[in-house]
Symmetry: C2
DNA sequence: TGGTGCATTTCGCCC
DNA sequence: GGGCGAAGTGCACCA
């Protein structure tokens, strides 16, 4: 990892267009070719470009130019003055984060504990494919009718349309004509409950839940 | 900006739970208290915490512990061995990015050029408030009927539900009973076009467009 | 302060 | 490689 502290200005063109006026910033160039320009605020870089970029350098009279170009994007850094330039050796094969408490795990737990949706609910399938994408969970209600369950950590207003989209797509199949929808989440926003109610989608707030640390099966 | 390169392991608990096994990584502590842990891949930090955190340090026999705790979250870094620890002085008042080609600008341009939606379209209002959130643009079609326009740089499948939500909400008002919807974007995904078609929402692919560099009005 | 939606979102999974 | 949805998303804007 190379860190260059420099008085620099930046122009990016690609998915959008941005400019950075001249200032002293830190430029981080990583082993995989990713590059990012940081100021002393926030974790997010000001400018950046993904891995696989080749650095071209042009030395001018009073400054240095760095070009990172791909077919689609272009990042140009003007280095007016380099204050420091350091290389750090990090572990090459750092596998990265081990996550826990993800939506996938919540989904798995709910598949094992469908009674959390109410008495008489029965698990049928995870990731059930509809014409409009995969429903997190397919279950049946006490009457045996199919129910599309959208699982979320936090459910917001757009979860309602999402669930509705799945239910509608399933209803097109005569066998699933009386499908209903449920939003199951650890946290459901009040406005979301209101809209879901209007759309006849049931909201189930799940109990704060945690996975058995011994269980590695995701 | 302080950069510590160290053999470290990390535990985070808060919005989710993550662990990082021991490895040599770079830890960046910024002026505003934000902290991030990086490996030598990707621009995204492995672990991080936002501004306003206080670092507590505990020195143990064979390692050092760093705690960053808020009411909701907790980040604990175990420093097994510190390889380097450097301070860099960056500009304090770096104002950050100047953006161009944003959705807001596209919206402003379309407000000025409603004929891009088709002959006879007339601009009415930007950010028109409906019961389900603000529509980017309210226009009228050649027949004088209201049209809710959702502006996107890239329109994907969820833009359809979003537009539909606005249209439905507007239709509740008798005065807007015959409202229709348009998705206007630089890039509309094929599946999105298909679903929009099914939902009677018109798709308009806008020409590649760029703002007048002299125009500073957002 | 909370709700809502954009983002150069990034990232991962599945087809 | 494209489509799609999650993310410890971050962030700005608005009520």
């Amino acid at each position: 990892m190379r860190i260059v502290v420099a008085d620099c200005s930046v122009i990016y063109t690609g998915r959008g267009d941005t400019r950075l006026p001249r200032a002293v910033r830190a430029i981080i160039v990583k082993d995989d070719g990713s590059i990012s320009v940081h100021n002393d605020k926030s974790n997010k870089p000001l400018n950046y470009m993904g891995k696989g970029n080749e650095l071209s350098e042009v030395e001018l009279e009073d400054c240095k130019l760095w070009f990172f170009d791909t077919r689609q994007e272009s990042l140009r850094i003007t280095l007016h003055e380099v204050i420091s330039d350091t290389d750090f050796l990090l572990d090459r094969n750092d596998e990265g984060l081990i996550r826990d408490g993800t939506e996938k795990q919540l989904q798995a737990w709910l598949a094992e504990n469908p009674e959390a949706l109410g008495e008489g609910y029965t698990f049928v399938q995870r990731e059930y494919q509809t014409g409009a994408g995969a429903v997190d969970l397919l279950v049946t209600d006490p009457e045996g009718n199919p129910v599309a369950v959208e699982v979320k950590r936090v459910a917001m207003i757009n979860s309602v349309s999402q669930t509705q989209r799945y239910v509608e797509s399933m209803k097109e199949d005569p066998e699933f004509a009386n499908t209903t929808g449920i939003i199951a989440a650890l946290d459901i926003r009040p406005n979301t409950v209101k809209l879901a109610d209007k759309k006849k989608i049931r909201c189930v707030t799940l109990p704060t839940w945690w996975r058995d640390p011994a269980d590695t099966s995701m």
